[in-house]
Symmetry: C2
Subunit: 716 residues, 2 copies
């Protein structure tokens, strides 16, 4: 098979494939090649215009680091989700004026408040393919050397790029090591809070409604970006001036209805859609069920060990809440992937791809690489029980001991050569963690979780046991229970001062410590370093071999008339589709738009369904002005599309066929949790704030006519 560049692979005429028309988190540069599909879907603009992220409209779409936002005025006004601005809202709350509960309106720029020194807005100013530069030093290498060569080249590119003051740079890996892009972003540092509704609007329904449809949330807030008088990024100063963005989105005043074209631009975090069939099977048949069982068991263990003891329950409350969230997500993902029959669908697709590849000329080296990739994955699978359970064998205090030993080990190297996470700049974080442990740890509970995890360890096949872990915990579960008691009886690390003091001991001093947990950590350390080395070796091989798989997949899709987007990696992507209803299960239909009637229906007066009185009064009054939906005869609140999104898309602008802003993405439906692995068009939906609801709140409920005027919108 001819080795053409992957970018060239896209330069083909693609036939619209109905079954997959709405799947895809496209790189903007791919959109011109999708012109026919975009037009067929209803897009009225010029796809070529979308290709350059430094030009309108995509230049209006910015990252907050974890969230997406967009510029909506020439004076640096930015709109994003309420939950993305929560830190700034919290920071400015006082006992006398709780902005979380009351909301916030700056009637003039002078009333705006700082979002805090850590707040950032990143404006993408460069997006360049530097694949050759990144891979030059890696070619010919394998395993760990391949990994290190890529890593070094990335660090060098970032350092060179960041020499331009006021910018932050990163290298994005597209198609699993196939292509690398240098992304350069202007880093705006003076961010101010302009408008936030009360949390009882901005997060109406909270955890109860999270992931659910129908929704009734006003999940939006406004920021404004400021720069120095020289127009350059600067820390907060009264003298700073509004940043003039390279592009601005215009908020639509047109209705939104089922079937309308919609497009979302944002920074989706991570997806696994192009993983191999064996990785799908591993995820669904092995990892997710094991994750469910593990979290379920751990939660049960902690609840039993802390039953009737309020103090212990408080220590583990945050831990348990997080595990319950993980458990719920894993269950949702498993349920969805099984419903989509993902194992068989992916396996059949891969088999067809490999059969097709076999027929292609010059495909030998690709086939060799793909076989090697599969062998590498099989090897990983052979150790999966071990790799799954080992992290659970170093909880809380024992984990701190392991970390302290590793820190001492890394201290013996020059800072630049230390493992990431153990450099000087990481030490405040380590210290914070060691302090926080005081409020997250109880020996009785930790021993119970350790015993629970050790049961799984001792159930490992002998070949997966690790000598150093055996040395610490013994050879049977009964022995381990005694060893665990002894470990926690003989340690003084439960004392915060002792833990913090140990941060400054060198490796020799720590190795000589008589503390039982530090001694155990010293025994475990060689094993952990060895396993880490193996993992990096594997990561290098996967980075080297996956491009062959992606190359085959892209070529195969091309033969089907379809393009391939890279899996999400927190870079700017565009998805297009339409406003869509959902049939979540037999007999039930979800409408694509919700209305204020649902706010009243859900309202109990108790958090999280405590709509504020001005909102309830305004709904009762029924004065919806220019923002009402004429067809529905009332005010809409949220709407749903079939757009392809994932975590990181929070705050992303949803655009109509003309490129006008019709919604803010803020969630997905429960049935779409599994979309990180497989996009099932029957169930995948994204949930948005209808900009008409935002406009109505600004016009009639918590008025901010100044902002409406600034955005050139009707004030009622």
């Amino acid at each position: 098979m001819r080795k053409q560049s992957i970018a060239a692979t896209f330069a083909i005429t693609l036939a619209a494939s109905a079954a997959h028309a709405d799947e895809g988190m496209w790189m903007p540069s791919q959109l011109p090649q999708l012109a026919a599909q975009l037009k067929a879907a209803g897009f009225a603009g010029d796809p070529a215009q979308l290709a350059d992220v430094t030009r309108p409209p995509l230049a209006a779409v910015v990252s907050l680091g974890g969230c997406t936002a967009s510029f909506v005025s020439r004076q640096g006004l930015v709109v994003t989700n309420h939950h993305c601005a929560m830190g700034a809202i919290q920071l400015n709350s006082t006992p006398d004026n709780n902005l979380i509960e009351n909301g916030f309106i700056a009637h003039t720029p002078a009333e705006e408040v700082s979002a805090g020194p850590a707040a950032r807005i990143f404006v993408t100013v460069g997006f360049d393919n530097i694949t050759d530069r990144i891979l030059a030093g890696a070619r010919g290498k394998t395993g760990r050397p391949y990994f290190d060569a890529v890593d070094m080249a990335k660090k060098a590119a970032v350092a060179q790029c960041e020499a331009d003051a006021g910018h932050r740079c990163s290298v994005a890996d597209m198609y699993y090591g196939s292509e690398f892009y240098l992304i350069k972003q202007l880093e705006l540092k003076d961010i101010r809070l302009v408008y936030a509704p009360p949390v009882s609007i901005g997060n109406y329904g909270d955890e109860i409604d999270n992931f659910m449809w129908p929704r009734h949330v006003g999940d939006f807030s406004f920021y404004r970006a400021y720069v120095g008088k020289d127009g350059k990024p600067a820390a907060y100063s009264k003298d700073n001036v509004p940043y003039v963005p390279p592009a601005v989105l215009h908020i639509s005043t047109a209705p939104v209805k089922a079937g309308d074209f919609a497009m979302v631009a944002g920074y989706p975090g991570v997806t696994f859609r192009h993983r191999t069939a064996s990785e799908f099977a591993n995820q669904i048949d092995w990892l997710l069920p094991n994750r469910v069982a593990m979290f379920d068991g751990l939660i049960h263990t902690i609840e039993q060990a802390s039953a009737g003891d309020k103090a212990k329950q408080v220590l583990y409350a945050s831990n348990v809440a997080s595990m319950k969230n993980n458990l719920k997500r894993a269950q949702g993902e498993l349920e969805g992937l099984r419903r989509s029959d993902a194992i068989h669908v992916r396996a059949a697709d891969e088999a067809a791809m490999l059969a097709w590849l076999k027929q292609q000329p010059d495909a030998n080296s690709e086939q060799t690489d793909i076989r090697a990739l599969q062998a590498e994955l099989n090897q990983a699978d052979a150790q999966r029980e071990r790799d799954f359970i080992l992290p659970f064998l170093r909880p809380g205090l024992l984990g701190a001991a392991v970390q302290l030993q590793r820190l001492a080990f890394e201290h013996s190297k020059p800072d630049a050569q230390r493992e990431s996470g153990y450099q000087q700049r990481d030490e405040p974080m380590i210290e914070g963690g060691l302090k926080q442990l005081q409020r997250r740890f109880d020996p009785v509970v930790e021993k119970a979780t350790l015993r629970f995890a050790l049961q799984r360890y001792f159930a490992l096949p002998q070949a997966q046991r690790v000598a150093e872990f055996d040395a610490v915990f013994g050879s049977t579960i009964d022995e381990a229970a005694q060893r665990v008691d002894a470990l926690y009886a003989g340690t003084r690390l439960g004392d915060q001062a002792t833990r913090l003091a140990a941060m400054n001991l060198d490796a020799t001093a720590l190795a000589a410590s008589s503390d039982s947990l530090l001694k155990a950590a010293a025994i475990l350390q060689p094993a952990l370093l060895r396993l880490e080395g193996e993992a990096k070796q594997r990561a290098g091989e996967l980075l080297r071999l996956r491009p062959a798989y992606m190359q085959a997949l892209i070529a195969y899709r091309k033969s089907q008339g379809r393009a391939v987007y890279p899996d999400a990696n927190s870079t700017l992507r565009v998805s297009y589709g339409k406003v869509s209803a959902l049939t979540p299960r037999d007999g039930v239909d979800y409408r694509p738009l919700t209305t204020v009637a649902g706010i009243v229906e859900k309202n109990t007066g108790v958090v999280p369904f405590n709509a504020p009185k001005p909102l309830l009064d305004a709904i009762a009054k029924g004065d919806f002005g220019s923002t009402a939906d004429a067809a529905l005869g009332t005010q809409t609140v949220n709407f749903m599309t079939n757009l392809d999104t994932t975590g990181g898309n929070s705050g992303s602008p949803v655009l109509d066929a003309q490129g006008n802003l019709i919604g803010l993405n803020f969630d997905s439906n429960w049935e779409a949790v599994s979309a990180s692995w497989m996009f099932d068009p029957r169930y995948k939906r994204a949930i948005h704030v209808d900009m008409r609801y935002l406009r109505w709140l600004l016009a009639k409920v918590y008025p901010a006519p100044n902002l409406l005027q600034e955005m050139q919108l009707p004030v009622e």
Copy 2:
């Protein structure tokens, strides 16, 4: 206002009232007057034909006592709900052949099994207005004498009617004392089980899906009624012959779709739709919230008192389950009535009625009676806290002591004059209860519930306190706690033999007992008799005065062009409407038909979502033959209508425009729990088994071609 007979009031031309077109549990005799509405709704038959319950088609609709059923063949074949036949299925189950789990098919009449000696089918053979006969002796009386006169006349009518062997009779009170009907029913006693699907079909989803839509239940079973060779009702005998019913329903083979006309005939239990505005307000603002608080508190009290004690938990499991069910129903009713704004809607309607009445000539005596009715209800309200709490002050063992004292008191009268519930025929039931207590009682838990209820008692205004209760429990809650301990320390009634022996003691002996609970019961008895007397006095007044209210309501409705049905009272009623979707809340639509896809979606393999393999296989095979829905391209399971139903309608036949059987009613949706008080057309739906699903199961899954042939239906 002219005092015309209420029956005559219906003999008017009624304009169809769109808002209320689907509300109404009509007496069959009312249907000819509704001919225009029936026709407009799509009914293709002759409404006059429906008026006589002893002629087809209503003569095919029978009562099982609590459930409804219908004849579907000339050989006495009867179809009803699976849950209505559960007793018979259980009775015939053995460890070797659990019919609940396996289902049951009699391939020939010889394989049919007896539904047990208590099974009954009641065929209505007479339905006569005997109002004058019942009220003749009551006229001119008030209060208790009015009540007693009506009661005596009813007993006399029943006794005379039941002189005809093989019949059971009752007197039904229509429009709250306005009209009385003598209902005569043939009592068939040899009932046999013919067919039941496995419970995993017949009750798929069980409590989890109870009250829920979408549903996927095959809630049906077949019985056959037998009579002696002389054609008369007879107890089970091998020599009996199939009963030839006066009418038979034909099962439809036509499709069912949204908007289709539908009609249900059955024996709905009790509704309160025509209660006064003040009774609505009392129910919603006072009784239901108090019921919720009381059951919630009692459940919490029992759970706390039995925490960590498995034996105690088992003793109260059934009690707690029943209270949770009561709690859930009360919550649902409250939620629904508030959503429907029932207090204001009913109050506005009543106010309009009273204003209209004021304009009518000759309305003085009616107005006087309505004022007196309201005064009587106000008087009851003034004691409602007391009347609510007193029953909770005699739980379990103390309740048994009260019952034993009352039994001794009643024993001193001739049997015929004893209070209903304490006659000789009731004694086996009393004995059963006293025995069952052994498995439902623990002194620690009972004392806790008593203390909980006493807190409410001691919070009563002084005017509502009862001297005898004060004498037993003291004057403060602290004193009461000590008295309760003493009561349970000084009783031997916890011993079953002692309890049963006390059934035979006379009043003098019991009065002399030194048992602490029997002594307490002796003190309470005069109070309970006094309050019972007051209640009967009030019941008499309400029975005398409510007809004026009903008269006014009926006349007022007539002026609006609407008829009035009597509130449900377990007599045969007909409701008509259509196959209907539901919008339960903003953004959600429920389709009116479910399909087998939903069975697969819900299936977990674990009870209650453990569809049997033959069903799952048949669904996978997709061979739905003549029973498939052509429009949906698959097999339907359940469907929903807006028919007016309530408890007692279980098993009721749902008929199409031609009078053919299209469904079996088996449940209502959660949003309709409040319909016992107010029919809100937005939310009231009834849930039915689609007869096509029944036919498919009989044809393809658990085949019974003999039954299909007997019902003249396609066998595939």
